[in-house]
Amino acid sequence: MNGHIEKKRLDNPPATIKLKIQRREKEGAPVSWETFELTYRRNLNVISALMDVRKNPVTIDGKATTPPVWDMSCLEQVCGICTMVIDDKVRQSCSALIDDLLLESASDTVTLQPMSKFPNVRDLKVDRSKMFDHLKQVNAWIELDGSYNLGPGPHISNDTAQERYAYSRCMTCGCCLEACPQYGDDNYIGPQAIAQARLFNMHPVGQMEIDERLNGLLGEDGIGNCGNAQNCVQVCPMNIPLTRAIYETNRDVTVNALFGWLKK
């Protein structure tokens, strides 16, 4: 064996499949559902299925409608922009293969919805700029610019480098926030920003601004609002150890914020 696992495929695929899509004309407009039927092809994924619908946007009842709107870019699960809720579970639509979805649901219908935790711009498209605000809130960067050459940076242990690499894989897709039962209504900053704060807190130079980052995580929407349901780490498409980032930051917070005054 060379370690390659042949994925299960439909033995007797249906002639046609159905896409049930949640539609919304613009932000604040009412939600409606439309179902489209399209011819099954081998290796169809959700994006190519949506492209088929876009070519001929006629619903299963024969009603001509507008082509559904969605976001896409890299088509290889590294940019995160095509994230949507597929059969009640959040994931990237580019890597969601129709065969897998039909095998899992044992039906011929795939349901598509936009992520519910972000403003719905139109159809399956959402505005994820909140996540960028969260990165700013936790100072998710390292202050490097100065008036003179600082020389080479300090060495990092291999363990630290490995863990930081895992956090650096975040593509800001929003899966963790969508699946988090605590995230929403600006209640909680969420795992995405906490993992990025951890990424820069673990950097020897970034360590110097740890207080700024922890302050960003100690407000009303702070890290204390984590409910430990651990859905984030289950749904993360990049397998980022998000809960480890949360619990290591919990330790930083306990040491620096809760018991910090004992050092005075």
Partner: protein
């Protein structure tokens, strides 16, 4: 730059701490006293009397139990109100535990209100009207009479199980939220230990409740004999 004062953060930490230190500690004492019923009415009543004889009892009741309980339950309900449960789409075990923790918390609010009025104060019309507080000599009789009513007994069983879960999983949540237990493997061990503790505390609590309707609870009677009264002999002089 220094860490800024954060009210929300401190309240959260206080909520976690009150659940463990005054309330968790009190729960163990409470179970210990309840289990005395296994050895019969006299032993149980004596234990209740011992509590009545404690120094600073009123202060312990107010500052060690009543105020932490009120804070923990009211703030806990506020936390629960923030939850957006999604176990149907994401049915992972830990996601269910998240829901259980909130559901048992809300149930316990109702149950403890009933329990305190029922036994501590004897104020629920139609049920027991004699407070256990101040009537240690009737303590066993009061509880025993109450537990003859089937729905009351079942309600107490549910209360015991909900408390056992909420406290045992609460230990786990405390350890992870304070950054004590971080790693995946360590968490999995602690989680199993917590679930084991929940089962253990449930069994102890249920057995203690049964001891008020059937001597020695579910255990064989030989294991719980009422202590024989012996007349103390003065130590011999050499």
């Amino acid at each position: 730059m220094a860490i800024k004062f954060s009210k929300t953060f401190l309240l959260r930490k206080l909520h976690q701490l009150t659940g463990i230190v005054p309330l968790g500690l009190f729960y163990f004492v409470h179970l210990y006293t309840n289990s005395a019923a296994l050895n019969g009415p006299k032993v149980f009543n004596d234990h209740v009397q011992d509590i009545h004889n404690m120094a600073y009892l009123l202060f312990i009741e107010i500052f060690g139990i009543f105020i932490p309980l009120l804070f923990h339950s009211v703030y806990g309900i506020l936390i629960s109100a923030e939850a957006k449960p999604n176990v149907l789409g994401y049915g992972y075990a830990r996601n269910w535990f998240y829901v259980f923790q909130r559901a048992t918390g809300i149930f316990l609010f109702v149950f403890l209100l009933f329990h305190i009025l029922n036994f501590r104060f004897g104020l629920i019309p139609g049920l027991n009207m004699t407070p256990v507080a101040g009537n240690a000599d009737q303590a066993y009789a009061i509880v025993s009479r109450e537990f003859q009513i089937v729905w009351v007994l079942i309600f107490y069983f549910l209360g015991v199980i909900a408390t056992a879960w909420h406290l045992a999983y609460g230990f786990f949540l405390f350890a992870v939220d304070w950054g004590i237990v971080i790693g995946e493997k360590a968490q999995s061990i602690l989680l199993k230990a917590s679930l084991g503790l929940a089962v253990f505390l449930s069994l102890i609590g249920i057995n203690a409740a049964i001891a008020f309707v059937r001597p020695c609870g579910l255990l064989p009677k030989a294991l719980c004999e009422e202590p024989r009264l012996t007349t103390p002999t003065p130590p011999k002089k050499v």
